[in-house]
């Protein structure tokens, strides 16, 4: 593949409306390129999951959307505003769970910290905050520095949700949560989405933890998107084909799809192909392969296939 190779999967989500867009977004820290011409499109009301390995640029992207880092090139729009010059307004509309689980004012009690957030967000729903806190089982009299990583994360989720912002930016929100709390968090997020229409961007390298919530998927690697599409399209379009093939089979000359990953054994193949299911099946059959099974990939598997294909090139 050449340098100009574009993403393996589509990255254009059409005309929107979008809650968040970036065009050609670039950010460099010293000589390290964190974001490299990123075209993000987060449809309004969607739950968008950003998948990618550590260091892919997920956190830098989220911090850029918050107006916490300044970008060097490109254009950013968060709910119609550029965080670089209207940061205060942008942050007013965002509930943010930062990458760092430690809350800054560690000497405060949880209750005081919630009160602090309430002052800064006039739309703060104190009753909702109280219910969330109770559901998460966190005593408001606890000092923040005594909280465990998971408890700290829960407090951050309450801080992000309770002012019912139109946009949630959650950077590894399930980091540090045990199974039970993670399950509770998914339930809380489901209810939150049902009660207040919200656009959500979740960044994670463990997408299976939030998969049932996801509407759109963006796979990020080295500051670029490898694919950005609705989850159902990913389900329907990126498929794994198992087929039995004759000995010495060379594969079809041309296939109506893009082979993302292939693994061939002596008389059997397992290909991951982006393309129309019937056309790909026909193509394989015509080339002499007996397709035994076609199955969709989970978001996690899909991301893995894309990322490892990227590494292989």
């Amino acid at each position: 593949m050449t340098d100009t190779a574009t993403a393996a999967l589509p990255i254009d989500l059409g005309n929107g409306p979008f809650a968040v867009t970036t065009r050609g977004l670039a950010k460099q820290f010293g000589s390290a390129r964190a974001l490299d011409g990123l075209d993000l499109q987060v449809p309004e009301g969607s739950v968008y999951v950003l998948v990618g390995p550590n260091g892919a640029g997920k956190s830098t992207l989220i911090r850029t959307l918050m107006g916490l880092v300044r970008y060097q090139d490109g254009a950013v729009s968060v709910l119609g505003r550029d965080p670089a010059d209207r940061g205060a307004e942008v942050r007013a509309d965002i509930g943010h769970v930062p990458e760092d689980y430690r809350v800054g004012y560690a000497w405060m009690t949880v209750g005081r910290l919630l009160g602090h957030q309430a002052v800064y967000h006039p739309s703060w729903d104190a009753e909702y905050a109280r219910r969330l806190r109770a559901r998460y089982g966190i005593d408001p009299r606890r000092k923040c520095h005594t909280l465990s990583k998971g408890e700290s994360r829960r407090v951050q989720l309450v801080l992000a949700l309770a002012h019912r912002p139109p946009l949630l930016l959650l950077d590894e929100p399930t980091d540090g949560l045990d199974h039970v709390v993670r399950d509770e968090t998914l339930s809380i997020l489901s209810e939150h989405l049902a009660d207040s229409p919200t656009t959500v961007v979740i960044s994670t390298h463990r997408v299976y933890e939030v998969e049932p919530l996801v509407d759109h998927v963006g796979v990020l690697s080295e500051g670029r998107l490898l694919g950005q599409l609705p989850r159902d399209e990913l389900y329907g379009g990126l498929l794994r084909y198992w087929a039995d093939v004759p000995e010495g089979w060379r594969g079809p000359g041309e296939l109506a799809g893009r082979v993302v990953r292939r693994s061939d054994a002596a008389r059997a193949i397992e290909w991951t192909v982006w393309g129309d299911r019937d056309a790909v099946t026909r193509g394989l059959s015509q080339a002499g392969a007996a397709v035994r099974e076609v199955a969709p990939l989970s978001v996690d598997e899909a991301a893995l296939a894309l990322l490892s294909a990227r590494e292989a090139t």
Binding site: R91, D100, Y105, H116, V119, Y120, S123
Partner: protein
């Protein structure tokens, strides 16, 4: 969702009030420690001055307390506290990371300035309380407020050693009114300069130490090589903490008495304070730009 953007932005008055509260919470432990130290000192002083038993124990070595706000120890404590205060004010803020302050829906620059201002308000309040406390302690221990003394002013430094008549002049000196304001201005200047370092640098203590050493070296050279203009500059620069720091230990023919090369003047104090406070303000404003540009 139907909220207009305006209703989601906090009122600046609310933010200001909250920052006053947050800074107050942040400094309460250190403040309590300082108050405790002050209280213990007062109790000890009053005890020694009022109880003959204790007086006898130290052979009357601890005399009566004279509280002259223009004199170095007093100004020095205020300045030291003001230099350290920003470390406590910015406690818990990851100034170069996702600090709570930067994540809030307030313009970064404005927010940084509000926090600096909130810290300053606390500094003035604490300083005021401390001055009242020391004043009361002084009165309670039977000491005196301000000084009323005769000072020896050196008019001709060269002539002093030679014993030339008229080289030294006696001046009647009473603590002037403005020396009571001096702790506030010197602390303000120190606080602003320290805040600049906290806002602008990742390692403020490192920078402070570096500047301190560099300043010391320059002054040392000036002193050693007798570079007159440099001494004048350093005198001017140091004036803000009080003209009383310009006593010089000089050997008089009549004995090692403390003499003065310059008596404190309101003009010098105003100029030096304005210089330092101005420098601090410019520094804080410039450093807060950096917060905006992160």
């Amino acid at each position: 969702m139907t909220d207009s953007p305006a209703s989601r932005i906090p009122a600046m008055k609310a933010v200001w009030g909250e920052q006053l509260r947050v800074v107050g919470l942040a400094i309460r432990r250190e403040g309590a420690l300082a108050a405790l130290a002050l209280a213990l000192g007062s109790v000890a002083l009053i005890a020694f001055s009022r109880m003959p038993v204790l007086q006898a124990m130290v052979d009357g070595e601890i005399g009566e307390l004279v509280f002259d706000p223009g004199e170095p120890p007093w100004g020095f404590f205020g300045v030291l506290g003001a230099l350290l205060l920003p470390l406590v004010v910015w406690k818990g803020e990851r100034r170069f990371g996702d600090t709570p302050l930067w994540s809030m829906p307030v313009d970064h620059r404005r927010h940084a300035l509000l926090k600096v201002a909130a810290g300053w308000v606390w500094l003035m309040a604490i300083l005021g309380a401390a001055l009242v406390w020391v004043t009361l302690t002084t009165l309670a221990s039977g000491g005196s407020l301000g000084v009323d003394e005769v000072r020896l002013l050196v008019l001709d430094p060269a002539g002093v050693a030679a014993g030339t008549p008229g080289a030294v002049q006696s001046v009647n000196w009473t603590t002037p009114w403005w020396e009571w304001a001096l702790p506030f201005t010197s602390a303000t200047a120190a606080y602003l300069v320290a805040s600049t370092l906290i806002l602008a640098t990742r390692r403020p203590l490192f920078w402070a130490a570096g500047l301190w050493v560099a300043g010391g070296v320059v002054l040392g050279i000036a002193d050693f090589r007798d570079i007159d203009w440099m001494q004048r500059v350093s005198d001017f620069v140091a004036w803000y903490i009080g003209g009383d720091s310009f006593t010089r230990g000089m050997q008089l023919p009549t004995g090692g008495r403390e003499v003065w090369t310059l008596l404190p003047s309101v003009k010098m104090w105003t100029a030096s304070s304005a210089f330092w406070i101005g420098l601090g303000l410019v520094g804080v404003l410039a450093a807060s730009r950096r917060a905006r540009d992160r």
